[in-house]
Amino acid sequence: MSEKHVLLIEDEPHIAEAIRFILTRAGWVVSLETNGSAALGRIAAETPDAVILDLMLPGCSGLEILAELRAKPRFVDLPVLMLTARGQGRDREAAERAGASAFLAKPFANGDVLASLEAIIARAQSVRSA
């Protein structure tokens, strides 16, 4: 099986480092983008298998990135795992409407990052093969 590639869009360096460590050890190729404004360009250039997208980013919010992404036919089905704050129901609702594939509330258990990512990849594959 070929290596899966995920683009992590997260401006908190220590959170990004932890996620990158966890996913890399699980066999993922992880690239990192810390600026919201540059995120869309990175996605277009790298065409990752999935995106982990933080809601609160400098430059351009996670919601804006997601909305622009879903507006492009090429990325309508791209699996996007959204990182939200625990208890922020309104943010989560807005992200759901904008087309997030799944959510992960901060603070999260490390195992949940991997499990959530694999779940949205599997779901996208089953939709494609159906």
């Binding site: 480092e17 460590f21 258990a109």
Partner: protein, 441 residues
């Protein structure tokens, strides 16, 4: 003068409250008892001069017997009714009838004033709550701080889990993650501290009030916690000591201040400054020995030690906290490093509360106060009953804790304590009653 249909009712209520016979009031006012009876039952209109005469005999302003004096009350009661309708929807049968509001005010002016006053207070508090809610939802500092806290906690949790769960982690990664934990811990600590400070200031600013106890503490702090006027042979009247004091902004605070002065005066009489200073030099700072020397109550010694003027030989810097039987703090003089809660209850592990359960038994404990720089203190706690209403009155308990510098050597039985659960970092404390914003994130 506008005249309500219930002026007579109010005259009767006032007369009966004064336990005055109808015949006596009638005679004094120069009318017949039968005529007064008709007035009191609202069957005769009262002329202005007679109303003035009756009011004078009853010791009230004539306006208080007429409608004009109750306008504010009516407004307050109507507001209370509207609130009840807005909150509850359907009302219980018979509550509250708007058309009988005048009768209610006329017959029970005291209760009506209480109800209207409560309504005004509720409305004021509702405004405070609204402004808080708005702040919490929109305040950029709060939102940014909470984001910081959440990010730090997320980072800490993930990094700690990696270190614990990854057995074959490379040394350079281990070192890197350990540095992360240190950095994020500091970030969390700084953010939480800033947040607590901000919330405390916010509360003060938003309500525009500090509690009466805080006002008294501010005044005493400004006076160096010592009132030299009381040491004079002929001390001034207590009122003169608080006259024009800006810190004592509320009537409640001035009452508390007068109570403090009265108590301090008793303490001065029981423990005159010069002999007390001599005894302190001779016996050391031992409250029990000092109390025995002067035949004074232990509480007086505690209070005297905590409010001595500076420069007394042998007098250590002392803090003092006093609580009543409910555990509510009624006096707080903080010692440097010994943090006292501004709001809510204190740490349940304070020896103060142990003393409360063991009246008349001295409790000596060295405590270790949680904080960024943990500090030890020697505490003496004591609880004694009071019976201000006499032998047959209720017994009121009062506990005090004197806070002194610690002994140089650590000993067995030293007790970890905090300020209050909300801002205490001792996560595994057996006494914890609510999560801490410092330890739980």
């Amino acid at each position: 003068m506008a005249r309500s249909a219930l002026t007579g009712t109010r005259i009767r209520e006032r007369r009966t409250a004064l336990r005055m016979k109808q015949a006596d009031l009638a005679r004094t006012a120069g009318i017949s008892p039968a005529y007064l009876n008709l007035i009191e039952h609202n069957r005769r209109r009262v002329g202005d001069s007679l109303l003035d005469q009756l009011a004078q005999v009853l010791g009230v302003d004539p306006v208080a017997l007429s409608e004009g004096a109750e306008g504010v009350l009516f407004d307050g009661l109507r507001e209370a009714l509207v609130s009840a309708e807005t909150e509850g929807g359907a009302q219980p049968a018979g509550l509250p009838e708007l058309e009988r509001i005048e009768e209610f005010v006329g017959r029970f002016p005291g209760w009506a004033a209480v109800l209207a006053g409560r309504q005004a207070r509720v409305a004021a508090l509702e405004r405070v709550v609204e402004s808080y809610s708005e702040r919490m939802a929109q305040d950029p500092f709060l939102l940014a701080s909470l984001h910081e806290v959440l990010s730090a906690v997320t980072s800490l949790r993930s990094t700690a889990a990696i270190l614990v769960e990854t057995e074959d982690i490379e040394p350079e990664w281990r070192a890197r993650f350990l540095r992360t934990i240190q950095d994020e811990s500091l970030r969390l600590s700084d953010t939480a501290e800033a947040l607590v400070g901000y919330l405390d200031e916010l509360e003060e600013a938003e309500t525009g009030l500090s509690s009466p106890l805080e006002q008294v503490e501010a005044w005493l702090s400004m006076r160096g916690w010592h009132l030299p006027e009381l040491e004079q042979a002929d001390p001034p009247a207590p009122e003169a000591l608080i006259d024009g004091v800006a810190e004592l902004a509320s009537g409640a605070a001035r009452k508390l201040a007068l109570a403090h002065i009265a108590r301090a005066s008793d303490d001065v009489r029981a423990l005159p400054l010069a002999p007390f200073a001599d005894a302190l030099r001779e016996l050391g700072c031992d409250p029990a020995r000092l109390a025995q020397r002067f035949g004074a109550p232990m509480g007086s010694v505690f209070r005297r030690l905590a409010t001595l003027p500076s420069g007394i030989e042998g007098a250590p810097p002392a803090g003092l906290v006093i609580c009543d039987g409910s555990g509510t703090l009624t006096f707080r003089r903080a010692a440097p490093g010994f943090t006292m809660p501004r709001f809510g209850a204190a740490c349940p592990l304070w020896p103060l509360y142990e003393a409360l359960t063991r009246p008349m038994q001295p409790v000596r404990t060295v405590v270790d106060m949680a904080g960024r720089l943990p500090q030890r203190f020697l505490t003496y706690a004591f609880c004694a009953p009071r019976q201000p209403a006499g032998f047959d009155g209720p017994v009121l308990m009062e506990a005090m804790m004197l806070i002194l510098p610690p002994p140089p050597e650590r000993g067995p039985g030293e007790r970890p304590v905090g300020s209050s659960c909300r801002i205490c970092s001792r996560g595994d404390c057996v006494g914890r009653r609510e999560p801490s914003i410092l330890s739980e994130g």
